[in-house]
Amino acid sequence: MITVKGLTKRYARNTAVDHISFEVQKGQIVGFLGPNGAGKTTTMRMLTCFLTPTGGAATVAGFDILEQPLEVKKRIGYLPETPPVYPEMRVGEYLSFVGQLKGLSRSDLESRVGYACERCSVADVRNKLIGKLSKGYRQRVGLAQAIIHNPDVLILDEPTAGLDPKQINETRDLIKSLAGDRTIILSTHILPEVSQTCEQVIIINKGKIVATDSVSNLQHRARSGESVLVEVAGRNGSLDPAAVQRKLEQIAGVNRVIPKADGQKRAIFEVESGQSQSIRGDVARAVVESGWDLNELRAASMSLEEVFLQLTGTETPAEMEAVAAGGQKE
């Protein structure tokens, strides 16, 4: 449905999108994931013919975005980051204006406006001024606007940004229900959104694609190397964490030992191995044979969050927590 080949957008000083290529099949929901400023919006804007790419090519529903932009635009429903609504218009008026813009015939217009209102649950505010609506409603009006001409492709830029948790869930359900034979691309920097709504993920960072895979594969990929958490305690009430770390590092197959917490009596380490076979037995043996107590030993599976951070190379979860905690204190 969507083919992108070497798409590039360069500005005077920086390259926003750098030779990205991907394909989206008909009926798929694809999540565009990346930190802020990664190039998600730029890519979407190029696909919707809002921006002209500096290089590369893309086709939507078989039409080239440079050669036949009008045909492409007819087949795309687009919700930009801020819903493109006119505050001085009423919801119904606005939707029929957009319907006309998208080329709906007069006979279809009324029924399509009704349908879009119904689907996006804005029927109850149809006669209200958009400027008086809450953020959540405005977002839904934006979605209604995107589906009004029954497009084959929906492109949604951060559809849940700025909504409260309840509205986020409703919007996600709505997006899923809109899928059917439609192809949906949505961008987000929130991970659970991807695992909940999308089948396929494209992780993008600094204008480049760092991973393209299905959600389950990505999670699986994260677990390919095993990672275990061990809590060790000293038998006679004192413990030398450095000695424990040294011991753990000596175990065959261990790549890295990360101290997670240490104290006078006990210490917690994360042990990562590159092997596919389990090292848990070896770890347990090493601890007990050295005369320490093994308080806890469990597999630490990598969350999607960690995969994402690993791939995009930004902060570690611990740092992020620290930032979040710091932010809360302020």
Binding site: R45, L51, T82, P84, P87, L101
Partner: protein
Amino acid sequence: MRNIWIICRKELRSYFVSPIGYILLVTFAVIAGFFFWTIVNGVLQVTMEAQMEGEPYPMNINEQIIRPLLLNLSVIQLLLIPLITMRLFAEEKRTGTIELLVTSPITDTEVILGKWLAAVLMYSCMLLTVVLDMLFLFKYGQAAWKPLAVGCLGMLLQAGGLLAIGTFISSLTRNQIIAGAVTFGACLLLFVMGWVSAYDGATWATVLSYLSLNSHFESFAKGVIDTKDVIYDVTVIFVGLFFTARSMESLRWRS
């Protein structure tokens, strides 16, 4: 054609759901009414004095009332035209609705023509308030309608050019105030730049005076259609809209 009308209708609507449309209409009507009243009064004064002295004054409503009124209004409109055009693109760029227009299956030209047409229609409504004043001249005097029609056509053509320039300037910024101020400066400059030829006979002064707005309105005010003037106005309209199209195109490369 249909798409131009869709955009135009939406723009016209937004003039009249916000106070701006009414403010423009009232302001123009009041100012035009004031000028109309003073001019008519002045003419009456002169004729009355002439009659008392026993030598009837030959009255020509078109020459003595309509012509000076239109000349005055062609200056007044310099102040009001920026208010008509300043929001056309600047507002859409600020709120992000430009993204909706640009990603809809309509061409840039249709968007621009729709917006410009709405501005022209808004201006026509304002001009209509003046025509209402003039209806009195037909009721109580013998005015000729043809010179009046030509005068109004001249006003429309000249305003069309200024509105096209305003549309272009609005497409350059996301700030309405900037768009309005720059448009006002451009309109005023275009109007006064012909004055240099009064003091200077050099070629460049003649060129400037030819390019100036007011030198192309005098014949219209007299009720004469001069092809030269029509071509001038149409050129200004075309150039303004052409640059708007280029500016919209550049949006696709920059933003």
